[in-house]
Amino acid sequence: MTPDTTDSGVAGSGPAGGAAASDGAAVTGSAAVTGSAVAGGGAVAGGSNPASGGVPGGGAATGGVAAAGQGAAARPGGGGTMGLARRRATSILQRYSLVALLGISIGVYGVWGKTSSVFLSAPDFRNIASSQAVLVVLTLGLIIPMISGSLDLSIGNAAGLSSVATAAFYAHGHVPLLVGALLGVLVGAIVGIVNGLLVVLLKVDSFIITLGTASAIFGIVIWYTGGQSIVLGIPQSLLSFGGGNVIGIPDSVYVVIVVALLVWYLLEQTPFGRSLHAVGSNKAAARLVGIRVERVTFAAFVLSGAFAGLAGVLLLASSGAGNPQIGQNFTLTAVAAAFLGAASFKVGRLNVLGSIVAILFLAVNITGLTFAGVADWINQLFTGVALVVAIAFATALHRERRPRARSTAQDSP
């Protein structure tokens, strides 16, 4: 299983040899990794297809991952100690394969002549770290509804809306720094409330609903801004936060750490986290153990919306402008990172640490390839391949474990 991923990972980076000057940085230096993506709404729609094609339905897709896997779970009664030891070894291999891939990638770009000069420099690491803050916050928000079996494809657009709205609050409302940031989070939360209500009340697949709201949000943003970025009137303190650092670590990394701890606590340390997992695993059973399924689903969307709102504020801080176009480019990358992350640490489960490693893996490779001179289409190509590989990986794990489960199931009418 693990070699497969390695191979595909390398295959994804194959075109690296092809030269072509890169000047993809559309917004700032930090955007070289994520912000350089150009595709419009198509990126969201086209990107979602692999997700739904791999495993039918949005809910099913996430369920598949939730169900796929723990290679760690040895089958009781099966095999002797030999088999058990071997399985434990494979499970460790599975658990840390993405970390290993990340290490290998860093090593390769560090040694490779084309990239080593820039790649191992401290400023570049800092650059990667701070530029990924938006994506990390979005992805960690996204895994909340994903764990409960729903998919929120509106997060990128919600972040875009929040960054534009926050910029407008500052520019036209002259609100203080913190109030503006909170309003940005609130805007995201409102998007989440709308998504949550629609999903719960209409009982329609969240995949479709949020695909619709994503497009609608984009329309609203374009209508409000006329397609123009809001550049003036952003407080200097916010802009310096975007570029600033404390003891060499970018400010946004501190935000990421707080968000990561918060989401981890929520998912692993609270009854709410348990409810999310239960709802994602089996809605009917969750209802029959007293879990209020609708309430949990709704809360999951509000949270993913609120985190998207926060991501929007970070986006505004790092890019310095309320840009109506770039938010949606993050959605697919966040989905890819979430699925990739489910393939490490707690194999088969969406998890915080895995998501972060997945984002770093994507960022290191995309940055590395960009430095190596590959044009900025590598961003979409690499992300898309990573998403498909991650889902194929999860599904394969799922299938590998199926026969036994099925034989027990068939024995019982």
């Binding site: 040895a74 088999g83 153990v289 879990i291 036994r404």
Partner: protein, 512 residues
């Protein structure tokens, strides 16, 4: 237990030393099986006994270990080479537990999906030919329906028969080949089971050889000529059913006599009513009244569709009650949701374990504490170590056999999964436990353990309302049984109970 006469009759299917290992464990260990032409041969055994594996090998969908041999319909090959194509060529026809029939399509279309549509020029479907062919089949197999009837409009038993016809349709003479039926009655209500069994006897009388896989011993005894019993992947015996009693059969399957399967019923009954239901209306229920006393097991006997499951769900707040009154411990009780019912001390084990109770990919531990996570969350911290301790206590107390509580619950056997579901509720010491078919799809050994657990709970003061289709089981396990028919309770009978009396009460035409 073999007979000389049998040697003369031709074998329709002969299997030698069939084995299959899953991750090191032998699911099937050297099975020898002879099915004579024209007989109904039942393959019996508990969960994990290997009967499903055997059927899958015969169908060619699971590859056997090298060393075995399969011979049927003039085709013989090494077991590890057996394939679906070979199975088909050898005349083996399979109807699986949940046959892939399509209720929205017509009978003709359902049959054509097996055989292929007759087509004219340009791949146009020749409906007239198809309908004529279907009409002939329906007549040959005595099903009173027209080819264009949607399958969903038929009774469950006729849907099963259509699935059987679909398997057999390409063979004109019935005296070759083997029809393999995997749990054909699992989804059928009581009276329709008898109809299907009658139909099977008819097919056998016409020369059809049938290999019949089932959990239900009474059916196997009534329909089969011989039975082969498997236990732990090995063949225990092949015996003639003539003169064989259900008790003897159970002894073969479990390896111990039936009297020890059910714990003794309560000696003394309290008069104190824990739950009283008055005039409950909703769905198929048209005014149900009953009361469950402290520490008793009250059985509900009723056919599928009688509203027995709805009644339990209603008491659990998971099904709307249009009218009526519930009283719990003397206080009015009207749960609007399962969480309200749980707060009042009511617990519910649903009929469909896989659909409604298990969190398959979650660990055994999380399955045990599902819905109780709040108990472990104090002062903003989740008390994982306390949960772990409680889990290991529950695992031993409720006889779950799991290698580790961190394993996914779907890796357990059916019986252990059910014990996990039961333990989830019993560990909360409920006032009232509602059980819907708690032993469905569970082998005889686990069934006995489940009833032990239930009795242990009633001894501690829990009241139980038990729904089960198996009337023999109700008669053994309950202190009293209420008969639900036509949406009302038509009778309440007390110990000594016997299955025949219950069968009569459940099946006689509605008097009420």
């Amino acid at each position: 237990m073999t007979d000389a006469a049998g040697q003369d009759r031709a074998l329709a299917l002969s299997v030698r030393s069939l084995s299959k290992a899953y991750s090191g464990t032998l699911a099937l260990d050297g099975l020898d099986l002879d099915v004579r032409a024209g007989e109904i041969h039942a393959l019996l055994g508990g969960n994990g006994s290997g009967k499903s594996t055997a059927i899958k090998i015969l169908a060619g969908v699971v590859t056997a270990e090298p060393g075995g041999r399969i011979e049927a319909g003039g085709h013989a090959d090494r077991a590890e080479h057996w394939s679906p194509a070979l199975a088909h060529a050898a005349g083996l026809r399979f109807v699986h537990q949940q046959p892939a029939v399509f209720p929205e399509l017509t009978i003709a279309e359902n049959l054509a999906l097996g055989e292929g549509f007759p087509t004219g020029p340009g791949r146009r479907i020749r409906w007239a030919v198809l309908n004529r062919r279907t009409a002939e089949l329906l007549e040959r197999y005595h099903i009173a329906a027209t080819p264009t009837t949607p399958l969903g409009a038929l009774a469950a038993v006729d849907r099963s028969r259509v699935a059987i016809i679909r398997a057999l349709q390409d063979r004109d003479e019935a005296d070759s080949g083997v029809l393999v039926l995997d749990e054909p009655t699992a989804a059928l209500p009581g009276p329709e089971v008898d109809q299907l069994l009658t139909a099977l006897r008819g097919y056998a009388a016409a020369g059809q050889t049938i290999l019949y896989v089932s959990h239900r011993l009474d059916e196997a005894l009534s329909v089969a000529d011989r039975v082969t019993v498997l236990r732990d992947g090995r063949k225990v015996a092949t015996v003639d059913t003539a003169g064989l009693s259900e008790g003897q059969l159970i002894e073969l399957i479990v390896g111990r006599p039936i009297e020890r399967l059910f714990p003794a019923v309560s000696q003394e009954l309290h008069d104190e009513a824990v739950l009283t239901v008055r005039g409950a209306v909703g769905g198929p229920l048209r005014g149900v009244g009953l009361s469950a006393r402290k520490g008793e097991v009250l059985g509900i006997a009723g056919l599928l569709g009688s509203g027995r499951s709805e009644l339990l769900r209603m008491i659990f707040g998971a099904y709307p009650m249009m009218a009526g009154q519930l009283t719990l411990d003397g206080k009015s009780y009207r749960p609007a949701s399962p969480s309200e019912a749980m707060a009042a001390g009511v617990a519910y084990v649903p009929e469909e374990r896989h659909a409604d109770a298990l969190f398959h990919a979650e660990s055994v531990r999380h399955n045990l504490s599902a819905g109780q996570a709040g108990d472990y969350f104090r002062r903003l911290l989740f008390r994982h170590s306390q949960e772990r301790r409680d889990t290991s206590r529950s695992i031993s107390e409720f006889l779950v056999s799991a290698a580790s509580d961190r394993h996914q619950v779907q890796t357990l056997s059916g019986g252990n999964q059910q014990k996990v579901v039961l333990a989830r509720w019993l560990r909360q010491r409920p006032r009232l436990l509602l059980l819907d078919e708690p032993t469905q799809g569970v082998d005889v050994g686990a069934r006995s353990e489940i009833y032990q657990l239930i009795r242990r709970a009633t001894a501690a003061g829990t009241s139980v309302i038990l729904v089960a289709s198996d009337l023999e089981e109700l008669a053994h396990a309950c202190d009293r049984v209420a008969v639900l028919k036509g949406g009302r309770i038509t009778a309440v009978v007390e110990q000594p109970l016997d299955a025949h009396q219950l069968t009569e009460l459940v099946n006689t035409s509605e008097a009420a």
